[in-house]
């Protein structure tokens, strides 16, 4: 990774051995953010974060500062800090990388949140299928406790008491959704609530709860250290900072990169220090942004685009988790979507009928298209089916299945039409 940009999130990667070496962490500006925070009034800290325009890095892209202020304003003596580390979908691995390479940065970010919001207890919810990662976080927490960065009277400050527990979840994608995450943390089945509640007011065990993504928390010490102006300058006027991206698929350099928000997409895809372009002799065909729930764009349409929240929005695209899956002309869009649908089908929690059975029926329909066994009317039937599933699901898992599918249909209509035998007996009217 020979990068020319200023690295703020990955700068300690590879320089800590072991990764939870707290002295080495301190030597590389670790805990500088917390040191600064405890000199500041909570209101000032929140103002800093708001001015930095840090947007939630889990995919929702909600302003982090707003969330902190809502929790700060919420009534209640008990407040919780929750780190959403339930990353676990094809093409996204930046939270795991952060926790595996620089866990103390995340812990420091959570500790600053605890200082600001007067919380006593934090939780890191991580998928239990990564036992080594769980062990690394545990070790880092232990180092922080030994150095009095966690526990009672942190930094010798009376009443600054905070500790963090790691909760190893069962590995369900849906537990990244806030209500499902909170249910799972509370020992309930990890399924979303039918009625949305605002976790900043009524979160874990009914108390006001700050839930931020791993990468969001890792950015907090950076903001305090650099100041909100410098942080904002790393990105665009609309959204500050850098972004971790996960570049995968049919491209030369695959892996994790830290990029400044606002970088031209062509640099990311073709630049030598990032993607390095298509594999030899091939041509990029499409790019799937933001994770499985994101939308798909034709590679040819991306030449003028920069990698920023606001630029992608114009094209109905998202930064999401930072996943960027790149495919070349050898990959059929139908085949690609079939595996995306399989993901949704597998990860549906089963609560809503539309998602539980609808994602299965979508997958089955795509399999039929793969075999070119469609008949006239099937594309309308399929479109309605996807629309109903997105419409009748209560949580983002089912709601977002239309994003990859409809964007692909928009970009590559001919590929869909080719799956239909137009001479066959047309399907009866779509019943719904």
């Amino acid at each position: 990774m020979a990068q020319t940009t200023q690295l703020v999130l990955t700068k300690r990667f590879g320089k800590l051995d072991p990764v939870f070496d707290l002295t080495a962490y301190q030597g590389l500006e670790g805990y500088g953010g917390l040191a600064k925070a405890v000199q500041l009034d909570p209101v000032a800290i929140m103002a800093d974060i708001a001015e930095s325009k840090l947007l939630g890095r889990g995919g929702m892209a909600a302003p982090v500062g707003d969330k902190w202020q809502q929790v700060a304003k919420a009534k209640g003596d008990t407040k919780y800090i929750v780190c959403n580390a339930n990353e676990g979908e094809p093409g996204t691995f930046k939270d795991k990388a952060l926790l595996a390479q620089d866990p103390l940065a995340v812990i420091e970010g959570m500790t600053i949140a605890a200082w600001t919001l007067k919380a006593k207890q934090g939780y890191i919810y991580v998928q239990g299928r990564y036992p080594e990662l769980v062990a690394t976080i545990e070790a880092a927490l232990q180092q922080a406790r030994l150095a009095h960065y966690l526990g009672q009277e942190i930094l010798g400050i009376p009443d600054f008491n905070f500790d963090i527990e790691v909760i190893a979840g069962g590995g369900a994608y849906v537990c990244g959704e806030t209500s499902a995450l909170l249910n799972a943390l509370a020992g309930q089945p990890g399924r979303p609530d039918s009625k949305p509640t605002d976790p900043t007011q009524t979160g874990l065990f009914g108390a006001p709860t700050l839930i931020n993504n791993v990468e969001s928390f890792a950015n907090i010490p950076v903001i305090l250290r650099l100041g909100s102006g410098a942080f904002l300058a790393l990105g665009t006027p609309e959204a500050g900072g850098t972004k971790l991206i996960c570049l995968t698929g049919q491209i030369k350099h695959r892996g994790l990169f830290e990029v400044p928000l606002g970088l031209p997409l062509t640099d990311i895809l073709n630049g030598a220090e990032y993607g390095g372009g298509a594999l030899n002799g091939h041509q990029l065909k499409f790019v799937h942004f933001g994770g499985q729930a994101g939308a798909i764009a034709a590679a040819a349409d991306l030449d003028e685009l920069t990698y920023s929240y606001e630029a992608l929005q114009v094209k109905n695209l998202t930064i999401g988790s930072g996943a960027i899956v790149v495919m070349d002309e050898r990959t059929s869009i139908i085949d690609y979507l079939t595996s995306v649908a399989q993901f949704f089908m597998t990860e549906s929690c089963g609560k809503c009928i539309a998602c539980r059975l609808g994602t299965l029926r979508i997958y089955e329909m795509l399999q039929r298209f793969q075999q070119h066994a469609g008949v006239p009317g099937d594309l309308t039937y399929f479109e309605h089916m996807v629309d109903h599933v997105a419409d009748q699901s209560i949580c983002p898992v089912g709601q977002s299945i239309g994003n990859p599918i409809f964007s692909a249909m928009e970009q590559f209509p001919e590929e869909f039409k080719k799956t239909i035998d137009w001479q066959a007996q047309p399907k009866e009217e779509v019943p719904w």
Partner: protein, 859 residues
């Protein structure tokens, strides 16, 4: 359906709808909002049908199925999908009462919600993800291997044929009608809809009663109707001739009884006759029965089985507060209260639907304190459990009061304004320090302090108790110590507080209310009080005996002294229920003339000279009064068994034959007479009961809405009375020869003598044999393993039963249920009685246990 995408966000949230639908085959149709809604519903129904075993003809829920009606409303009867579906025919038949067919489950989650949130059991949940999501019991085994207690509330809420009662195979909804009535088991007073096909009851469903709010327990749901049509029912009057029962006509039986009772009455005087009324039967039957004894028999020797359960509550609370009944309502003491103090009540087994409501309260934040010698099921839900030694409850309550007074937590204002006798009580409990009492009760002194503080400091804290307090040789004192404690902290006459005895039988409250007691005329109007005497003589147009009568527990032994010669037992089985069975047998054998009037040929009936068939609750109209003083209707659901006379008519005809003319047109007419003579029932009639969900007495006038909470501004007796109650050890304590302290009690599946429950085969499958609970430590010492056959003896007799080894009882204590004829605990129990309420000490007697050598019964 074409819906809008996300709009209005400043920046895009990919976890939502970013991209609008894309039509590749022509222009999309533009649909109205109602068409969109219709299509959404059709899509959902189509998906459900695509994974449902659509086999409506065979399905018990045909005609009563949510999916079927949704499909009909959507106009969609076949799925348009052809993909994967779950396998059919994998039905779990393992529960004795209901079947589970996953292929008919729509995963609506109602079953798991009722299990978690209403029943508080957490047995059912949705396991797995996506297509593999499945409703499972426990850890994905069959129902039988889970902790399911078969309450059946999941079956009641299931909208499809996934969870269906086994009996439902035999009927379809459209063939049936429903009759709302009151459950015939415990005193909770659950409302129940009996499902009737061709005038026969085929099933039972919960109704939305005030006391049960759509819940039922395993007995109400599955065991409340089969006994009605049991082939073992008595069908004709029987007279014993030469040791054999011979069927006779009703007129012959009534003539014979009148003649025999009449002869005894003239030969030995009216006081030689007695009658036991039936706390399972209606208020109307009980009223007429006691009237028959008081007029035709000419004495007050009438009692009911409250004598062996809650008579101390009637006496004790009558003495201290003025009303011997639950002060508050079930809903009131289980909704939005801070602390529940539960003493000597295994609520989840004896009053299961109240137990479920206590668990709901705990789920909503109520702290539960349990004082009980056993590690009962609710301990899991409790904040504090004082596992006291059996029979030491008065010492414990005195110590709690000591702490409350010492720490200044007593409600001085309440005590000064509303009570009397406080000083004597205060002076007595001054000696009862937690340190002194702890070794007596075998609990930690700090737990006594903790319990006292929690109870005293809570704003709303009901005290709930049951037979652990009453069934002692000092039962009445135990009850009065309950009112002491509640009055000390001013927790009487307020919502969410009170002193709340849970009455055992469906109508034991009513039987007591309506004068089935040797001390009281109906409405607790005292025998011997000249004004009362005059009132009833005027109302009944006859001279009445002013001598207090004998209790059940006195009348039976009086047979051996010749003081009682003739006895009419209506719906009781003292051979099974009264202590020291061997002695009860001698009592019955010594009775000159015994009539037993019952549904079945009970153990007691075998000793009778005349056996009369009775009608069950489902074959008659009437009312029951539940534990919260709520008078509720009982409605005839099934055709009465051919040839069986209505019970109150039998009493009327016998009284008439014996010279006191009595006749009633209907139960409603009887209630009208009750309203005339019982002030607290003065405003109750059938018309009002139809319109209301029952009426709680006191309900004095026709515009009186009833009284949910007693003693609000003043106690029924005027001032609340404190009693100084010294602790005295129980009558019979363990010694070297009989080293174990034995208590008896109830369990969930069986009801009392099992005469009703054992007609439902599934009940015996779950709880078919007697057992004795022992502590693991004791069992290991004696080489006894769980399930081993053991011999249990007391000074009164010996039985054999099976060991149930666990940590439910503490070391040195054992426990048996009272239900079983085979392994009858009452062979062992001590007939020594409390001297106020004359209740036997079922909760403490001394026994010894010996292993029984092989061959072991493989039962």
């Amino acid at each position: 359906m074409r819906s809008k995408q996300n709009k209005g966000d400043t920046l895009p949230n990919q976890y939502g709808r970013l991209v609008a639908p894309v039509s590749l085959e022509g222009e999309p149709e533009v649909l109205s909002r109602s068409e969109q809604t219709r299509n959404s519903r059709r899509f959902a129904v189509d998906l459900e049908l695509s994974n449902h075993d659509v086999n409506c003809f065979e399905c018990p829920k045909n005609g009563d199925c949510q999916l079927q009606s949704d499909a009909m409303a959507a106009g969609l009867f076949h799925t348009s999908f052809h993909g994967k579906r779950q396998p059919v025919g994998q039905i779990d038949h393992s529960n004795p009462f209901f079947d589970y067919d996953p292929a008919k489950c729509i995963l609506c989650g109602r079953c798991s919600q009722v299990c978690h949130l209403r029943q508080g059991r957490n047995v059912l949940s949705l396991s797995g993800r996506g297509f593999a999501t499945k409703m499972v019991a426990g850890y994905e085994g069959d129902f039988d291997s889970s902790m399911c207690e078969s309450c059946g509330n999941c079956v009641s809420v299931c909208p499809t044929g996934a969870l269906t009662a086994k009996v439902h195979q035999d009927y379809r909804k459209w063939e049936t009608t429903q009759v709302k009535t009151t459950c015939p088991y415990c005193g909770t007073g659950c409302q129940i809809n009996l499902v009737v096909k061709n005038r026969k009851i085929v099933d039972a469903e919960p109704a939305n009663g005030v006391a049960n709010k759509n819940l039922l327990c395993v007995k109400g749901k599955f065991a409340s109707y089969k006994f009605v049509t049991s082939g073992e029912r008595l069908k004709k009057p029987l007279i014993k001739r030469d040791g054999e029962f011979v069927p006779v006509s009703w007129s012959e039986a009534i003539n014979y009884m009148a003649e025999r009772f009449g002869t005894l009455k003239s030969q030995y005087g009216p006081d030689s006759l007695a009658g036991f009324a039936c706390s399972r039967s209606t208020n109307e039957d009980n009223y007429v029965f006691q009237k028959m004894v008081r007029t035709a028999f000419g004495n007050n020797n009438v009692d009911n089985c409250a004598r062996v359960c809650h008579a101390p509550s009637v006496h004790g609370l009558g003495i201290t507060l003025g009303s011997g009944a639950m002060t508050n309502t079930i809903a009131d003491i289980t909704t939005d209260v801070d602390v529940i103090l539960l003493i000597g009540s295994n609520t989840t087994e004896a009053h299961p639907v109240i137990g479920a409501q206590i668990r709901q309260a705990v789920q909503h934040g109520t702290k539960l304190i349990i004082i009980d010698p056993r590690n009962i099921d609710l301990v899991k839900n409790s904040t504090l459990h004082l596992q006291l030694k059996g029979g030491t409850n008065i010492a414990l309550i005195n110590a709690m009061m000591h702490v409350i007074i010492k720490e200044g937590l007593a409600d001085e204002k309440f005590i000064a304004e509303r009570t009397e006798g406080y000083e004597a009580m205060r002076d007595l409990v001054a000696d009862y320090t937690p340190e002194k009492v702890a070794p007596i009760c075998e609990v930690a002194p700090e737990d006594i302090v903790k319990a006292a503080r929690m109870y005293a400091l809570a704003d709303k804290a009901p005290l709930i108790y049951c037979l652990g307090v009453t069934e002692h040789s000092f039962g009445t004192e135990g009850v009065m110590s309950m009112s002491n404690l509640a009055m000390l902290v001013g927790k009487v006459g307020r919502p969410g507080c009170g002193v709340n005895p849970l009455r055992g039988q469906n109508n034991v409250q009513g039987a007591c209310d309506l004068g089935a007691s040797p001390f009281d005329f109906p409405g607790y109007q005292k025998v011997g009080d000249p004004a009362v005497q005059a009132k009833f003589e005027a109302a009944w147009h006859t001279k009445l005996n002013d001598k207090i009568g004998l209790t059940e527990t006195q009348a039976l032994p009086a047979a051996q002294t010749g003081r009682i010669r003739g006895l009419y037992i209506f719906g009781e089985d003292p051979m099974a229920t009264d202590p020291d069975t061997n002695d009860v047998r001698r009592d019955l054998e010594n009775m000159d003339f015994l009539v037993v009037h019952d549904l079945f040929m009970t153990e007691t009936a075998k000793y009778a000279d005349v056996v009369l068939p009775g009608l069950s609750y489902a074959e008659k109209d009437g009312t029951f009064t539940n534990t919260e003083r709520r008078v509720q209707r009982v409605r005839q659901a099934a055709k009465a068994l051919g040839g069986v006379k209505v019970d109150y008519q039998v009493f009327s005809e016998l009284a008439t034959k014996m010279g006191y003319e009595m006749a009633y047109d209907s139960p409603s007419a009887i209630m009208d007479e009750i309203a005339q003579v019982v002030p607290s029932y003065g405003g109750i009639n059938y018309e009002r009961l139809e319109q209301n969900s029952g009426l709680q007495w006191p309900c004095r006038t026709l515009d009186d809405p009833g009284t949910p909470i007693l003693h609000v501004d003043k106690f029924t007796r005027g001032k609340g009375l404190f009693k100084a109650l010294p602790y005295q050890p129980p009558d019979e304590l363990p010694d070297d020869q009989y080293p174990f302290l034995m208590a008896t009690g109830r369990q969930l599946y069986q009801y009392n003598t099992r005469v009703m429950t054992d007609k439902t085969p599934g009940i015996d499958q779950l709880a078919g044999r007697s057992y004795i609970e022992m502590n693991t430590v004791d069992a290991q010492k004696m080489g006894i393993k769980d399930g081993d056959k053991v011999q249990v003896s007391s000074r009164r007799g010996t039985i054999q039963t099976y060991a149930a080894v666990a940590d439910v009882v503490s070391v040195g204590s054992v426990f048996m249920t009272l239900h079983y004829h085979d392994g009858n605990a009452n062979v062992l129990t001590n007939p020594h009685c409390d001297d106020i309420a004359i209740i036997p000490d079922y909760k403490v007697c001394a026994v010894k246990i010996e292993p029984v050598a092989a061959p072991v019964d493989s039962h």
